[in-house]
């Protein structure tokens, strides 16, 4: 029984996360599509964490080189994704906030 639970729990995670992703986007006004695409682009920057683990386990120069590249690319994804999203979002203001 435990093996069955262990087999199914990732599938539940998968299903629930997929529904969640769908729900989050489906009610978004068009004006936020570009920033939100950029925001989801930032979120998959979590790949950095996996790349760190991969590099941490590397034991040959080849593995270290690939791991190094992975961390570099992952960091670029996370950092770049954050700042472009932030730059776009901080410009969105309503007329009341600006006192126009």
């Amino acid at each position: 029984m435990e093996a069955v639970v262990a087999f199914f729990s990732p599938i539940y995670i998968l299903m629930l996360a997929a529904i969640l992703g769908y729900e989050i986007i489906s009610r978004v006004p068009v004006i936020l599509h570009t920033p939100l695409m950029s925001g989801t682009n930032f979120v998959h920057g979590i790949v950095l964490v996996g790349a760190m683990v991969a590099l941490g386990q590397a034991s040959t120069p080849l593995e270290q080189t690939i791991g190094f590249l992975g961390v570099l690319l992952g960091a670029g994804n996370a950092v770049g994704g954050y700042f472009v999203t932030e730059r776009m979002l901080e410009m969105f203001k309503s007329s009341k906030e600006k006192g126009n």
Partner: protein, 469 residues
């Protein structure tokens, strides 16, 4: 340590979800990215102490890790801070490609490393290979997308990348990569030329897939690659047993897929149509001949018409952003508002280079988002508008989409600018739009053409309105 790390990863997943939720509403959007960013920082910090790293602690690897984070982070930070808003779509493409590349790199290390007695199950190995394939495709495809949108010389001519039998060649390359992947995962062949060939084929397929696609369709493709990267990250998350990667990756995969479908729908095309055909090949026959003549108008006359209008709708297109005229446009709008007019901005879903891009460009100029209306809201209002000002937009205001069945853009939702009492079109010259077709709007009786550089014309309009006192 295991519990602490899992707790933090859980917290990160929660912060990502709350962050994305907040990002989906204009009033809370700005705080959303900060929430998600906090999650990312926490997850990164705690990962330095990940048991899978500390099990075979290596100072060299830690040093390499810090150097890689520093280099990748600084380059991306500098790029993100400097990029102009008009170039945002290709910037998103390149950061997305980096994520795909990182996922492929994780897979490569996982496959290459000495497994000893702990050979992963075939399911895990298949996931690693699938993630590698998808990640590598997203990487090379995104690099090509960046090159095309950045208008790098090499990518300039779409036609030179099109050849007969292209789809078959692509399918063959993809098929070969899949077969090699299966051999690697199920035959446990983890080294040598086979794995190199596998990665090369995957990279080649991504590039070949993106190369023949025209610039106008690129946003859909970028969004698709974004979903791909999410999926690749989730697959590698399963391989590493990393719950934060699984959840974040799947959320991006599903939301990215939905966003891709919504974008394609806004362009009245299917995703398959975007990927496997090209604009020029569309359309069933000769478009109807356009009748009438182009009637030019000088800026001072246009300014008078504008100044005495009680309702003005401005329809901006990418041409406005390229000319950097959005600041001038907002300056003019404020003048008109002071004179008592109602001013609204009408945004077509694909104005700019991706859905919502025009909103970003107007926001940059300081236009409050409640002045901006989308297609459904504004189309009813055109008949009551005294002046509709079209600036740098073309295909999205072409009435042929409504009434000419032979036109390649027939059926695409458009802004009904031609229903306004008067139409002014600011345009550089007499050329045609992306779709390469004449626009009947420009020849209509109520339309006047104001020729010139958008920024200069709007400056002249502002002067003209001010002169009226």
């Amino acid at each position: 340590m295991g519990y602490l790390i899992e707790t933090v990863y859980f917290l990160t997943a929660v912060l990502f979800i709350v962050g994305l939720k907040r990002m989906s509403h204009p009033t809370t959007a700005r705080s959303g990215i900060v929430w998600a960013g906090g999650g990312m920082v926490l997850a990164t910090l705690v990962s330095f102490a990940h048991p899978q790293i500390t099990a075979h602690i290596s100072v060299t690897n830690y040093v390499l890790m810090l150097i890689a984070i520093a280099i990748g982070g600084v380059i991306a930070w500098a790029g993100a801070k400097r990029v102009p808003m008009t170039a945002m779509p290709q910037m998103i493409a390149i950061y997305n490609g980096m994520g795909g590349g990182a996922a492929a790199a994780i897979a490569a290390v996982e496959l290459l490393k000495d497994h000893g007695d702990h050979l992963p199950s075939n399911t895990i190995l298949l996931m690693a290979v699938a993630g590698a394939l998808i990640g590598a495709v997203a990487f090379s495809g995104s690099v090509v997308a960046f090159g095309k949108l950045q208008e790098l010389k090499f990518f300039k001519d779409d036609a030179k990348f099109r050849f007969t039998g292209q789809q078959k060649v692509n399918a063959a390359i993809f098929g070969a990569a899949v077969v090699l992947g299966l051999i690697i995962a199920l035959g446990h062949v983890f080294g040598g030329p086979l794995i190199t060939l596998f990665f090369l084929l995957a990279l080649a397929f991504g590039a070949l897939m993106a190369l023949p696609i025209g610039g106008a369709d690129m946003p859909v493709v970028i969004s698709l690659f974004n979903a791909f990267t999410g999926l690749a990250v989730a697959l590698e998350g399963f391989v590493l047993g990393n719950s934060a990667m699984i959840i974040a990756g799947i959320i991006v995969g599903s939301s990215g897929t939905l966003l891709t479908l919504m974008m394609a729908k806004a362009m009245n095309r299917s995703v398959a149509n975007v990927l496997f055909s090209n604009w020029a090949a569309l359309g069933t026959g000769e478009a109807q001949a356009v009748t009438g003549s182009l009637k030019p108008m000088e800026p001072p006359d246009a300014a008078i018409q504008m100044a005495y209008a009680s309702k003005v709708i401005i329809v901006p297109g990418y041409g406005m952003a390229v000319a950097q005229a959005q600041h001038k446009i907002w300056e003019m709008s404020k003048l008109l508002i002071e004179r008592g007019a109602t001013v609204k901005f009408a945004i077509h879903p694909v104005a700019g280079r991706m859905p919502g891009h025009m909103n970003v460009l107007l926001a940059e100029a300081g236009v409050p988002y409640d002045y901006i209306a989308d297609l459904e809201e504004i189309n009813e209002e055109f008949p009551t508008a005294d002046v509709a000002l079209v600036i740098g937009a073309n295909d999205v205001v072409n009435p042929a989409a409504r009434n000419d069945k032979s036109s390649p853009i027939y059926g695409m939702p458009i802004l009904n600018v031609d229903h306004a009492k008067n139409v002014q079109v600011i345009k550089r010259g007499k050329g045609v739009g992306f779709a390469g077709i004449e626009n009947a709007l420009f020849f209509a009786d109520n339309t006047r053409m104001v020729y010139g550089d958008a920024q200069k014309v709007v400056a002249a309009l502002i002067q003209g309105i001010k002169d009226l006192g």
